[in-house]
């Protein structure tokens, strides 16, 4: 690694169906202009595996590898991933590296970005009701385990502060016994 390389900040951007635009936009507006960008897409084997499994479950008919829908899904998933990375690179408009990884998204993402200076991740999760479940499994894992700072961005405009629910009407009753003095 040369000196000039170590000066550059390495920014990883998680590219995922449905939310990648927000991640790319956040990276463009918040990351240093001279950063080295890496677009990271993770393809999970689960979906083709579900199709492989369903085909294997067709008892007595599963002898034609060419008909296995899982194989076709694998091919389509690869095409879709490279299309997505291409679109993300076009939106970014900077020199960047495209990284396509196979595995469970949350783990693969943390592993791939181990040496990054910043990881940009869009929230996934059920955001119709903000609370514990509005941070999905993948982003929750990444927030907990990433080896670098994580920039967590909203896929849509961030909610207004006014949307925070009011505090509970009935505050918890005071403890019956005074708390120990040495706290």
């Amino acid at each position: 690694m040369t000196d000039s390389d170590t000066q550059l900040r390495s920014v990883y951007i998680w590219v995922c169906e449905g939310t990648w635009r927000a991640s790319v936009d956040a990276a463009l507006s918040l990351a240093p202009a001279d950063a080295r960008f890496t677009l990271l897409h993770v393809t999970s084997p689960d979906v083709p595996d579900a199709a492989h499994g369903a085909y294997a479950g067709l008892f007595g008919r599963g002898h034609r590898a060419a008909d296995d829908p899982g194989t076709r899904l694998e091919k389509m998933a690869a095409t879709s991933a490279s299309d997505l990375l291409k679109a993300a690179a076009a939106r970014l408009g900077r020199r960047c590296e495209r990284l396509e990884v196979q595995g469970r998204p949350e783990r693969a993402e943390v592993a791939a970005s181990a040496d990054a200076d910043l990881l940009v991740v869009a929230r996934d999760g059920d955001r119709t009701r903000l609370g514990p479940k509005s941070l999905g499994k993948i982003t929750r894992f990444v927030v907990d385990h990433a080896a670098c700072p994580v920039l967590l961005v909203w896929p849509e405009p961030a909610p207004d502060v006014a949307t925070i629910p009011p505090p509970p009407h009935h505050p918890p009753p005071p403890p019956h016994h005074p708390s120990p003095p040495d706290r």
């Binding site: 939310t19 084997p45 499994g53 369903a54 085909y55 008892f59 829908p69 999760g125």
Partner: protein, 426 residues
């Protein structure tokens, strides 16, 4: 022989082991030649029916029916509100997969529809997981409606003595109930995937796809390819109506399926859209031979002890508890070996209790396989052993989804069947 069907050495067809096994059992006297003959005579029309349906589905695919479905799903899911796209697509997938499974059998959903659904999700830039899982689940649980939906149904249909229309009428509500359970569970289970979509993009339309290879063409959306094949749809519709009519008139509906397949095949051959060889291939002769052999082998095994061992477990009658127990036993047996042997074993035991018991067996063997993603523990275990790529699939997720849908689907489906039996008569 079951082990062979699960392991499939060298990718050989299952019939390579099943046919000699049947011959050996007949030669060894485990099953008298006469009994084997009558079993074959009973299975023959069922197998012919199945072959006709397989060819029909193949011809529908060749004529672009599933591509048209994909284009329709993409068009009607894309809308002004991006956030609603994944959920709208899930509704379309449920409708298309349920109808495809019911009319053209579960094989069509698994082999022909699933890739189209994936391609559509990719084009809409929606996470494909809920939609693909829906296809694999509905291929089982939405295969309750018609005798043609599943080979297990065809076998039971022959054994139950019901007319085609009566079968469909009794199974309609359980079918809808099973699909409803799946939809409710999927909506909650995949809430995270279904609510993930960009709202900050005005520039997003259906992403055009380039046609690179066959896989890509599944979702190709040029208008030339994706017009609804009206002729094919009409033929399939007439075939369906013919099933009910023929059955009511005492004619085996297999002939109607055969006629429908012939009409589409002749048209496709004249237009040179298909080669004769691909039609023969679609009929899947090794599979038909496998079913015939499996029937004979299972008959031999049942007659030589398995039937006596299972008989006390199967409650008689068609009271609600009896139906529930029958469906549960069928689901358990389907999960241990597979639903085809399970239904062959249970049918002769359930048939004396009446059509209601036979249909309860079907609920068990059709919904039950969703507990494991390969339809049975035997297949699942073998796939675990074979697995050569490093990462193993997230079995926990499949199993949780199965545990949420299967027991609920079974109970609600049996309740609906029980109510239907009282309303319509078994």
């Amino acid at each position: 022989m079951l082990a062979w069907a699960v392991i499939r050495p060298r990718g050989w067809p299952e019939a390579v082991a099943a046919a000699p096994a049947a011959v050996i059992l007949i030669a060894a006297g485990a099953i008298p030649a006469g009994a084997a003959g009558s079993e074959a005579r009973q299975l023959g029309p069922v197998i012919g029916f199945l072959a006709a349906i397989l060819v029909l589905a193949h011809l529908c695919d060749d004529d672009g029916l599933f591509r048209a479905c994909g284009a329709w799903m993409a068009r009607s899911s894309a809308g002004p509100s991006r956030r609603a796209v994944p959920r709208r697509l899930l509704v379309q997938v449920f409708v298309i997969a349920s109808v495809t499974t019911a009319v053209l059998s579960l094989d069509a959903t698994v082999v022909l529809l699933t890739p189209v659904v994936f391609a559509t999700a990719a084009r809409l830039e929606v996470r494909a997981r809920p939609h693909v899982y829906a296809c694999t689940h509905l291929a089982n649980s939405a295969s309750l409606l018609l005798p043609v939906s599943n080979l297990t149904n065809l076998l039971a249909f022959a054994a139950s003595g019901l007319a085609f229309g009566h079968f469909a009428a009794l199974m309609a509500v359980p079918w809808l109930a099973a699909i409803g359970v799946e939809y409710v569970v999927f909506g909650r289970f995949f809430a995270s995937d279904l609510n993930t979509s960009d709202l900050n993009t005005g520039d997003l339309n259906v992403r055009p796809r380039r046609d690179r290879d066959r896989a890509d063409q599944d979702g190709a959306d040029d208008d030339e390819n994706t017009r609804l094949p009206v002729f094919t749809v009409i033929v399939v519709g007439l075939t369906l109506a013919g099933f009910a009519g023929a059955s009511a008139a005492g004619v085996n509906p297999a002939w109607v399926a055969f006629a429908g397949a012939v009409v589409l095949a002749v048209r496709a051959l004249i237009r040179r859209r298909v080669a004769p060889a691909s039609l023969v291939r679609a009929a899947d002769l090794p599979f038909l031979l496998f079913v015939l052999s499996l029937g004979i082998v299972v008959k031999a095994v049942t007659d030589n002890g398995l039937g006596r061992a299972l008989a006390p477990l199967l409650p008689g009658g068609t009271s609600l508890p009896a139906l529930l127990a029958t469906a549960a036993l069928a689901a358990a047996l389907a999960n241990v070996c597979n639903n085809l042997p399970a239904v062959l074993v249970l049918l002769p035991l359930a048939a004396p209790s009446g059509a209601g018991a036979v249909l309860a067996v079907l609920l068990g063997v059709n919904i039950g396989p969703n507990l494991t993603y390969t339809g049975s523990l035997a297949t699942l275990l073998w796939r675990r052993i074979l697995r050569h790529h490093g990462s193993s699939p997230d079995l926990g997720e499949f199993t949780r989804l199965g545990l949420l849908t299967v027991p609920a689907g079974l109970v609600i489906g049996v309740l609906a069947l029980w109510a239907g039996l009282h309303a319509l008569g078994g």
